[in-house]
Symmetry: C2
Subunit: 330 residues, 2 copies
DNA sequence: TCTCGATTTGACAACGTTGTCACCGCCTCT
DNA sequence: AGAGGCGGTGACAACGTTGTCAAATCGAGA
């Protein structure tokens, strides 16, 4: 900017004014400055600007894994809202690792992002309290934070969705419904388990732990679970799978030649690409909406909206495609 | 940092030394400084640090759409490499819109990212030349840049992959093979078309424009294309689909009740989630590897590696799953 | 002609760091 | 005792902006 000023024969401040479209600059002078900018290929240094002004016009987004379609949908929505607000996004994947999450968040804070959107991985978010006190806005998405700060949170109606999904299977006559989901340490998994149990209870059915399997999704694990379930004295006739990855892993296991189980009905939590072609009935949530709502909430906070932390719950939607309507064999 | 210095009763510079683990600070003093840092909840301002030192330890990544699994896989790989290098990533989706790409790139440049990884959307990248001259390293991924700078580029063997896929269908007896892909304005689409034509030529078959359809993927478009193809006097007995989204849209259209075409063999370019369950034969590329290689190349440049721009081509792999092995009905 | 207000411009400090250099003790070696 | 080296510390400028305030210029009205 100094060079530009020298080249245009004006003071630094005048260049600054021109660059920022501030009023009160003579048109002729502005023209001369523009020419100099063009000639020198000058581009304003937003880092320095940020330092002076206090706002960085950037936010940090920490999710579990960008490569997971659920989070990448959320990610895209956050990005779009941010761009509308003239804001850039730092993205980081925690990989469900609390310490990596912490590392990312603190790195974002050191960069003085204006706000954070976090899909929390750990159970302890005390480390965020000083940052929030220091004025960094934070919104939690998909799951509430663990111990620590009381901040805005946007989740979906996990228990309600799981209840509806389970009730759907019950309505088709099933009485032995297995529940397969991620580790109980993950908020959404336990919430969905709760919905499943509520549905059973409402139908006057007992909760049978033998029918429940909760662990990180994976091919081997899905196979093992199914083999165990099908060997039970009173095996399940339907499966409720508690998230997208578990659903996919389960479908693969069901298709494997080893799993010589009887046909079972399947309802999954989370919609996924090609579920329509495979005819899989799901309880769908809308990751893009989750991201959008979280980002909008964040920007309202950044715009100065005060008030107590909000907790928003987004609805789910049952999408009937066939796999959940398989009747009980009589 | 000033406050910390005052609280610890030392000079600014000493705090700086402690914060950066620089040698030459008395253990007792360091202890006192650490205590003050803890007490005040101080966190270094990386923006100011960056301004002073010149390197921002951040890179910009511009892709077409994070929500597309291909790009989100690439994205995750870039992120992982960057994290290893102690670097944060700004991510932006261009949505195949050249002006949005430009806007994002220039915003990243204004933030003085150290480097850029770009999946180019437009055909004119002259706007990047001054930035590259200004010292920002750039690597193009998935597609080469249009007119403008001559920079490092990592692509996959598009033509080779399409040739192998087409040859696979030819080997199963097909002579009328349709080619469905994205707009010819997209580099990968035309390269794959080239591979398709090479395979036909090698087999001594004519290139029939009636069998080729190139446009942005979508449900309606896939249906229209298939209906047209199946109404031809000499309809195709096999389809080669030129990218993941086209493959999926085509499969949906094939499954639609309206499309009452005969069974056709299908080979798609790009692997996708659940292709295994659906039994779709594909020519797979590895988006994570693409991202990793591009990021590694970028960081080598940032580390000072000189030499002429490189152009890397990654191999593809034919994954046989059934849909491409449907024999010609005799 | 002088004063006043508006317009245009510029000097300077500040944002929070780090690099450079100089300083102060203290110990060791002559 | 004096010179020299070394570990520890601090003063100060600089990075590239922008906010504050003052100065210069000009035309208009008294």
């Amino acid at each position: 900017m100094n060079d530009v000023a020298a080249a245009a024969g004006v003071a630094l401040k005048t260049v600054s004014r021109v660059v920022n479209n501030e009023p009160g600059v003579n048109a002729t002078t502005a023209e001369r400055v523009h020419a100099a900018i063009e000639r020198l290929g000058y581009r304003r240094n937003d880092g320095a600007r940020t330092l002076r002004r206090g706002r960085t016009a950037s936010i940090g987004l920490v999710i579990e894994d960008v490569a997971d379609p659920f989070y990448s949908g959320l990610s895209r929505a956050v990005e779009d809202v941010a761009l509308d607000e003239g804001c850039l996004v730092f993205t980081g994947s925690s990989g469900e690792d609390a310490s990596r999450e912490r590392e990312l968040v603190l790195a974002f804070c050191a960069r003085r992002v204006d706000g954070l959107i976090i899909v929390p991985a750990g159970t302890d978010h005390d480390y965020l309290t000083p940052e929030i006190d220091a004025g960094i806005a934070a919104v939690f998405a998909d799951r509430p934070p663990g111990a620590g700060p009381d901040a805005d949170t946007v989740v979906c109606d996990n228990a309600g969705g799981a209840r509806v999904g389970t009730e759907h299977l019950l309505a088709h006559g099933h009485r032995r419904i297995a529940f397969l989901a991620d580790s109980p340490s993950i908020f959404t998994a336990t919430e969905r388990l709760r919905g499943y149990r509520e549905a059973l209870a409402s139908a006057g059915l007992p909760y049978d732990e033998e029918l429940v399997a909760m662990a990180p999704p994976g091919r081997a694990r899905a196979l093992a679970d199914l083999e165990r379930l099908f060997r039970l004295a009173d095996p399940p006739t339907a499966l409720f799978t508690g998230n997208g990855r578990t659903t996919v892993a389960t479908l693969r296991a069901l298709a494997a030649p080893i799993t010589h189980g009887p046909p079972v009905a399947v309802v999954g939590f989370d919609d996924f690409e090609l579920a329509d072609l495979l005819g899989i009935t799901v309880v769908a949530q809308d990751p893009a909406r989750l991201g959008r709502v979280a980002a909008e909430l964040l920007f309202r906070r950044l715009a100065g909206e005060s008030g107590p932390p909000q907790r928003l719950e987004l609805p789910t939607r049952l999408v009937v495609r066939g796999s959940g309507e398989l009747p009980l064999r009589g």
